[in-house]
């Protein structure tokens, strides 16, 4: 019996569920460093949910413990963005996703570690120290939602929220061997998310299995009048439509993936695709000719939007002035964003990046037009060892295969495909806008195939 059924049947109380996670965090998070802050009211909140369960009026997430990335506002807890800049900033309100989780009786267990202001792909740039990969000790967990992925992999929470600007949910999901979903841009409200790059950011779930990821996604998805970029979509119900039957599904695999990802990663991805073929899907080749332009397009866009987003951290309203206390990667991005913004009258960088973004979006949608999904590797290489010296451009290269989904605004999901040595490797699925269900079904089929 899974934890959701145990909670619903009363075999496990919300308080017991939360308590066991708090004990695990207390005992083992000293080594992992997945959390920046644990919710001191978690037990009290769990007791209130137990009352609702007894009265038969509890919501879909009743009693589930949910870890939240530290760039999402949770009233009364610190939203530090893993930076000294905001080290003492206590959120005065709940983000829309948190309101929706609370409405369904989920319990926020704590705020997770991350790359500082989500600027990183390794989980090493946090002011609060690097996070360990529970699935491959000594290696990075990936980032920037490092603590959220690690919390799931280490069994410190049932579910977690991350944010994904260029792969920040999918990259750590792949490295830690968990499920992660980057929704269609606009499906999940960003109200209450401290932005890295507003035209790319999306909040999404991380989980140990596809069903729970689908459950959290259906709770947080949907239109929000507070935010102009949310899409006017009806209430989603992914869990009731989950199906491992892939008959009729066509899955594309781009030959360009083989140029950029390590051979052993491609081998695991193809192995997973063979399992899906055995479950009814057919695999065909697709083309993504501008894949090599995705990374420069992404970073030239991010530098400018991040620079703009950080101008509020001037030391007057929120803690410290960012340039005075931030780490190297954040400072580098601010310098680059400032320079590009000053030079932008010539349209030399940002405008050109926007033009390439149009091209990449067009190519992704064209490639998807003849298939249900595009599947491929998540990262081009295996996670490096914590503390290893990595050149900034080599670090950015981790994002090569995840940024196209953000640039195109389409959904993408990651699930473990296999292992290389003892290191998990994730397969990534892309779909057309708002076709998250197909991604979930493919991952569900793969999960069933592995069980």
């Amino acid at each position: 019996m899974g934890v959701i059924e145990e909670l619903q049947s009363g075999a496990l109380s919300a308080e017991e569920n939360v308590l066991r996670f708090l004990e695990a965090i207390e005992a083992r998070d000293g080594e992992i460093n997945a959390f920046i802050e644990v919710n001191p009211r978690a037990i009290e909140e769990a007791r209130a949910v137990d009352e609702k369960i007894k009265q038969g009026r509890a919501g879909k997430l009743a009693g589930l413990a949910i870890a939240v990335k530290s760039n999402i506002n949770v009233r009364g807890l610190r939203a530090t963005c893993a930076s000294k800049t905001l080290e003492n900033y206590v959120a005065p309100y709940d983000a829309t996703v948190i309101e929706r989780i609370r409405r369904e009786d989920g319990i926020i267990i704590g705020m997770t570690n991350m790359d500082e202001f989500a600027c990183g792909s390794s989980g090493e740039t946090s002011y609060f120290g690097p996070t360990q990969n529970p699935a491959a000790r000594g290696r990075i967990p990936g980032g920037s939602s490092s603590g959220s992925a690690a919390a799931i992999a280490a069994n410190f929470a049932d579910l977690a929220l991350g944010s994904d600007t260029g792969g920040s949910i999918r990259n750590p999901a792949s490295h830690c061997g968990v499920v992660g979903i980057k929704p269609t841009y606009g499906l999940v409200p960003r109200y209450g998310l401290i932005d890295l790059a507003m035209s790319l950011d999306q909040i999404g779930p991380l989980a140990r299995d596809v069903y729970s990821a689908a459950l959290l996604l259906e709770v947080i998805a949907g239109y929000n009048p507070k935010e102009a970029t949310t899409l006017r979509v009806s209430q989603q119900n992914y869990t009731s439509k989950l199906s491992a039957d892939l008959s009729g599904y066509t899955i594309g695999f781009a030959k360009e993936f083989e140029e950029y990802a390590a051979k052993e990663i491609i081998r695991e991805v193809k192995h997973a695709l063979a399992k899906l073929e055995a479950q009814g899907a057919s695999v065909v080749e697709v083309e993504l000719p501008s894949l090599d332009k995705a990374l420069p397009t992404y970073y030239l866009t991010v530098f400018v939007e991040f620079f703009s987003a950080t101008r509020r951290f001037d030391g007057r309203r929120y803690g410290y002035r960012i340039e005075e206390v931030c780490g190297e990667e954040v400072l580098r991005r601010i310098m680059l964003g400032r320079y590009i913004s000053q030079k932008e009258y010539s349209g030399r960088y940002y405008r050109r990046a926007l033009q390439f973004r149009s091209l990449i979006k067009k190519e992704m949608l064209e490639a998807l037009s003849g298939v249900d999904l595009i599947a491929g590797p998540t990262t081009p290489k295996l996670p490096h060892r914590i503390g290893e010296s990595i050149d900034p451009l080599a670090m950015y290269a981790y994002d090569l295969l995840t940024v196209p989904a953000n640039l195109a605004g389409i959904p993408a999901g990651v699930i473990k495909a296999g292992e290389v040595g003892d290191v998990p490797v994730g397969i990534q699925f892309h779909a057309k806008p708002l076709e998250e269900q197909k991604i979930l079904n493919a991952m569900y089929a793969l999960e069933g195939g592995r069980a």
């Binding site: 841009y185 606009g186 507003m198 035209s199 102009a228 970029t229 090599d292 332009k293 990374l295 420069p296 397009t297 970073y299 030239l300 780490g327 190297e328 400072l331 580098r332 310098m335 680059l336 320079y339 590009i340 030399r348 960088y349 405008r351 050109r352 990046a353 926007l354 033009q355 390439f356 973004r357 149009s358 091209l359 979006k361 900034p392 451009l393 950015y396 640039l407």
Partner: protein, 76 residues
């Protein structure tokens, strides 16, 4: 932190990313959402010719050409 090193790396990052991007000749640019203006339809602004007259009528100081004369702030 060695800020000079960060600056040098930033210059190299920009040069390499810009070169990798190359040139493009495409009219389109990407917008966050297709609905460029979600609050109202684009339209010509409406002008009320009576507004200026009504506003000047209650202005404490005005000149012959129909402009307000603002007071100099007391803190200047």
């Amino acid at each position: 932190m060695d800020e000079e090193k960060v600056r040098r790396e930033a210059e190299r990052v920009l040069k390499e990313l810009s070169e990798a991007l190359g040139e493009i000749n495409l009219e389109e640019t990407y917008y966050v959402v297709e609905e460029i203006n979600v609050t109202r339809n684009d339209a010509e602004p409406e002008l009320n010719p009576e507004f200026r007259k009504a506003a000047l009528k209650i202005a404490p100081h005005k000149d012959d050409e129909g402009y307000y004369i603002a007071e100099v702030g007391s803190w200047v």
